[in-house]
């Protein structure tokens, strides 16, 4: 690594940390319904939406109604996107005359974009019409990210509520997340990306005759608007097949910097918002730096692995304008968050760097994680840590004054087990089914890594891929689609049950025996629990994939 490589990493970290408090404070005020700088600009739109939909913003919902609203709202999005793909041929804004999407791919895509996974078994430029990209995929980019925020808000309100069952109002949380957070940031980022060279047009693909006289068809489309929210909403589904490795999606290193920053921006700031909302900023910062430490550790290991393999200045699957460091930085950010966009091909990473990507996702994407979803996932781990600490000292565990009892712990365990089971059982089945194995492009341990990565990415709603695996088959489309749904709602529903259960509990005053959650001891325990749960669950699988491949690579073995 050269000085310049260190500099880029340091600038990224400093800007991320620097933007966290202002954006976090702003979002906390938005979610608490207070006035902000954006109220005069967007307030009319918020009120217009309430009026059009008949929403009473003072109405409160308990956990059951809140959850029901969330589930039906997501179901509508799923059905609409599914049908849209099956009918795009006869609909307008299809200049490339693309046919309808096959049912299995349409199911997979609808599940994928509803669950904020944005796994793509299709190639955008040869599959989706402009209309589908806009009113289907872009919409779900927004709504799935906002859904994550609503669950986080419900859980937070459950934690701070003084013995009442209300968790807020799903419609209001959805509207505020969209109008005050996701939409303004997306507009800003889209315009900047557009200025850097990201395309934004409704005109059809352009035919060119190259200097050597060959024909080349250049795909276009309304890309900038979708890419902005794809990055900000931790979605990750590219407009084009190569995602942010594509020069139209990520044309300059400056665009790359903003896009990779956008991946972690909202998830990181939400941690600060959480500190503000619970009235304990120190605890917020503690969670932030626990996440940051794990992020930095993974980044360091992956950078070391990529730079130690050879003296090459660029590797297979990476772009010249971005270089190795930006590729690895993006990889770490996109797998810590549930983004899943890529600016290089991860299957071509060194085995250890690829292993870091996989392990980040396996941890449940709680290191900053998805918009909203990272934090409610992390709060599950916090509850588990508090519970374990309680067992050690023999006291009833409490978190923020709320007693953590059987029901909460059951739900936490459920939310950890469901995605993990989907990964391991799914990958296990795929490893013995001929129909699944025929999709492999690599032999040896890398083949196992391809399958394991696919199930990990789907079940934890990441969406990045070891794309050597041909996942556009009926088997993978259906099974991975189901994994995404299990991984998303298998965590959301437990989170909502916990929120409902905690909401009605009394807040116990802090006493001398209360286990403090804002000191170094707690931070160390939290990291310990997170890593131990991840390693215990996945070490055997990881050791047969990336670790074995790494060791064999060192011995000069190829496959």
């Amino acid at each position: 690594m050269r000085v310049n490589d260190y500099l880029q990493v340091i600038i990224f970290c400093l800007v991320l940390i620097g933007l966290t408090p202002p954006l976090g404070l702003y979002m906390a005020r938005v979610f608490e319904g207070k006035k902000t700088v954006m109220s005069p600009v967007m307030g009319w739109l918020e009120n217009l939406l309430y009026r059009l939909c008949g929403i009473n913003q003072n109405e409160e919902m308990d956990w059951k109604i809140y959850t029901k609203a969330l589930l039906y709202f997501n179901l509508l999005g799923f059905l609409f996107l599914f049908v849209l793909q099956l009918a795009q041929k006869i609909l307008p804004l299809n200049p490339a005359n693309l046919p309808n999407v096959a049912w299995d791919s349409a199911f997979n895509t609808a599940a994928s974009f509803m669950t904020n996974t944005n796994w793509q078994s299709y190639a955008g430029e040869t599959t989706m019409s402009y209309l589908t990209q806009m009113i289907g995929l872009t919409v779900q980019n927004f709504l799935s990210a906002a859904t994550g925020i609503t669950v986080f808000l419900a859980l937070t309100r459950g934690l701070i509520s003084k013995s009442k069952s209300s968790l807020g109002n799903f419609w209001v949380d959805m509207v505020r997340s969209l109008i005050y957070v996701l939409l303004p940031l997306s507009i800003l980022l889209a315009v900047i990306l557009n200025s850097q060279g990201v395309v934004q047009t409704l005109s059809s693909y352009k035919d060119a005759t190259t200097l050597q006289g060959a024909n080349q068809t250049i795909p276009l489309g309304p890309a900038a608007s979708q890419i902005a929210i794809k990055q900000l909403g931790t979605n990750g589904g590219g407009f084009f097949n190569a995602n942010s490795a594509h020069p139209f999606e990520n044309p300059t290193p400056l665009a790359n910097f903003l896009e990779v920053l956008a991946i972690l921006l909202i998830p990181a700031a939400l941690v600060y918002s959480y500190g503000v909302m619970i009235g304990n900023r120190k605890h917020g910062w503690l969670l932030f730096f626990v996440m940051f430490a794990i992020f930095a550790l993974g980044l360091g290991l992956a950078l070391w692995s990529e730079y130690s393999i050879s003296s090459a200045t660029i590797h297979e699957g990476q772009e010249v304008r971005l270089g190795i460091t930006n590729s690895v930085l993006w990889m770490t950010a996109t797998t810590c968050a549930s983004n899943g966009s890529v600016n290089a091909m991860y299957s071509s990473l060194t085995p250890l760097a690829g292993g870091v990507a996989m392990f980040n996702i396996m941890l449940g994407e709680v290191v900053f994680g998805g918009v909203g979803s990272g934090l409610y996932g992390m709060l599950h781990i916090v509850l588990l840590t508090v519970f374990l600490a309680g067992l050690m000292v023999g006291r009833t565990p409490e978190y923020l004054g709320k007693k953590i009892e059987r029901k909460e712990v059951q739900m936490v365990i459920l939310s950890i087990l469901l995605p993990s089971a989907a990964i391991l059982i799914g990958a296990g089945i795929a490893c013995v089914l001929p129909v699944a194995l025929s999709s492999l492009s690599s032999k040896g341990p890398h083949g196992l890594s391809e399958i394991l990565y696919a199930f990990t990415s789907a079940s934890q709603n990441n969406g990045s891929a070891f794309a050597g695996l041909n996942a556009n088959t009926v088997f993978y489309n259906v099974v991975l689609g189901l994994c995404m749904i299990i991984g998303r709602f298998g965590v959301i529903i437990p989170a909502m049950v916990i929120a409902g259960s905690l909401a009605v509990k009394r807040i116990t005053p802090v006493g001398s025996g209360t286990f403090a959650t804002d000191n170094f001891l707690f931070a160390a325990l939290l990291v310990g629990v997170l890593i131990i749960v991840g390693v215990l669950t996945f070490f055997p699988a990881l050791s047969l994939g990336p670790l074995v491949e790494h060791l064999l690579m060192l011995k000069g073995r190829g496959f």
Binding site: I55, I65, E316, G317, A344, A467
Partner: protein, 217 residues
């Protein structure tokens, strides 16, 4: 319709503290609001938002919005951002591409560093470069000419990769080595530095370089 979704809040929840419930409480699930909100947010984020960005893009950043298209004598020769295939000796070659520079669709090889197939490909690429210019040794070849990009459409090569190819290009064009300095200068002029002095890597746009090269004569 509404009644299908109506539900009383759970008794245990209400029973614990009925006196503290003050705000209006939603007692039934309003399906109509759900549908309306979905329609309204779809129109807002799926039509108004992208069309608004398109409007700004088409009026302010017309060139980049439409694909940074390059024309030569009135004919569209490609996009400044999309790499294209050059395999004639008189042109600078771009990086290898697993898509052979066909943008429909973009993509990389996804081959692992432990892949024998990748090893064979790199060897093949090496031999091709050395055959085109036998004066070079294999340890002089810059990495970006040996490894394919992620997009398969990388429009750039490193400045070193451009310098590496000068001798071959000069010979193929029948230019004497006195022109070498002129081409080195051209490469220097077309080299884009790091953004803001820090971000990314220095690079040369292959299509622009070859375009200028054709004008040189």
């Amino acid at each position: 319709m509404k009644d299908n979704f109506s539900e009383e809040p759970a008794n245990e929840l209400r029973g614990s503290s009925p006196a503290m419930e003050t705000a209006t409480f939603s007692r039934r699930f309003p399906f109509v609001i759900c549908v309306k909100l979905f329609i309204v947010t779809t129109i807002l984020t799926g039509l108004i938002y992208p069309l608004f960005i398109t409007l700004i893009g088409q009026s302010v950043f017309n060139n980049s919005s439409n694909g940074s298209i390059l024309t030569y004598n009135g004919r569209v020769v490609g996009s400044a951002l999309i790499g294209q295939k050059f395999d004639q000796d008189k042109y600078f070659w771009p990086r290898p591409s697993s898509q052979d520079y066909n943008p429909l669709p973009s993509g990389g090889s996804n081959l692992s560093p432990t892949s024998q197939q990748l090893k064979a490909l790199v060897e093949e690429r090496k031999q091709k470069l050395l055959a085109a210019d036998p004066t070079k040794k294999d340890n002089e070849i810059p990495s970006d000419l040996l490894y394919a990009s992620g997009s398969g459409l990388d429009p750039h090569i490193s400045p070193a990769a451009a310098i590496f190819q000068i001798d071959r290009v000069l010979k193929a064009r029948g230019l004497d080595s006195g022109k070498k300095d002129e081409i080195i200068k051209l490469i220097g002029r077309l080299t884009e530095g790091r953004d803001l002095g820090v971000f990314g890597e220095p690079r040369v746009n292959v299509l622009k370089l070859n375009d200028e090269l054709d004008n040189l004569r």
